[in-house]
Amino acid sequence: MSFLQHDFPISWYLLLSAILFSLGVVGFLIKRNLITVFMSIELMLNAVNLSFVTFAYQWHEVRGQIFVFFVMMVAAAEAAVGLAIIIAVFRARSTLAVDRIDLMKL
């Protein structure tokens, strides 16, 4: 893949990662559906993974990629448990709107 390697600023990748992370935070704030809120969290995880891979490339260090691999595994486990919790919440409250799930709200 030598033809891919030119002088290319890594700041573009890092900026993309920061933008994706911020969009994930915005989605977490504005979305009103439990599943979509969860998707925003996945988007944030992916944004952080991108910056890990970028730094691994920059510092010639393969451990960054291994860290991303472990993040992926934990994220898969987290998605399974989180979606099970969403199903349980839907069974109990018959709604997915986060405004209606307010039992613990002050």
């Binding site: 890594i10 994706l20 691999f69 934990v74």
Partner: protein, 181 residues
């Protein structure tokens, strides 16, 4: 070449992420999240992480998103209600997001002179050789124990997911039995 591919797939990433925010139906949001994750896999490929690119497609675009779409269909999730949301989100949240982005961008661009840093020679030792060998050596020699512990973690997560989502199946047959008596 690198620049063109980066611009195309970074554009896909951003378009998918913004579409995720704008769509009101959860299934559309899930599909745009698949676009984001697949484009990220291409970006990983550009950064010389072939293994992670394939893992991203299999784990994220495949398994996790199938789980998401299954749950959306299972719960018959309809159109999202547009509420105004809490006032705290509007007054504190969005300035906080802008501040967070500014801080992230500043740190990422100025720490260790990263803003002017350029992509190096890549991870591979020899031209044409994948860094997969290096990665597997570290992963399966030095980090073998964490790797095996991860499988236990996933097993526990599966058990937990089944335990949480499990319906109390004994209730319905009991009541039916009572009704029969």
């Amino acid at each position: 070449m690198h620049l063109i591919l980066f611009l195309i797939f970074a554009g896909f990433c951003l378009a998918g992420a913004i579409n995720l925010l704008l769509q009101t139906h959860p299934i559309n949001s899930a599909l745009s999240l698949i676009v984001v994750m697949t484009s990220l896999a291409v970006l990983y490929l550009l950064l010389g992480a072939e293994f992670l690119a394939i893992a991203q497609i299999i784990v994220y675009s495949g398994a996790v998103m199938v789980l998401f779409t299954f749950v959306v269909m299972l719960l018959n999730a309809g159109r999202e209600e547009r509420t105004l949301g809490s006032r705290a989100a509007a007054r504190v949240g969005f300035p906080a997001v802008v501040a967070l982005f500014a801080v992230l961008a500043t740190i990422l661009l100025h720490a260790h002179g990263l803003g002017s840093a350029h992509l190096g020679q890549g991870l591979s030792n020899a031209p044409g050789q994948s860094n997969l060998i290096l990665l597997s050596q570290v992963l399966f020699h030095e980090l073998l124990l964490p790797f095996e512990v991860t499988s236990v973690l996933i097993l526990i997560a599966i058990l937990g997911a089944v335990a949480i989502a499990h319906v109390e199946g004994s209730k319905v047959p009991d009541s039916e039995r009572m009704a029969e008596k």
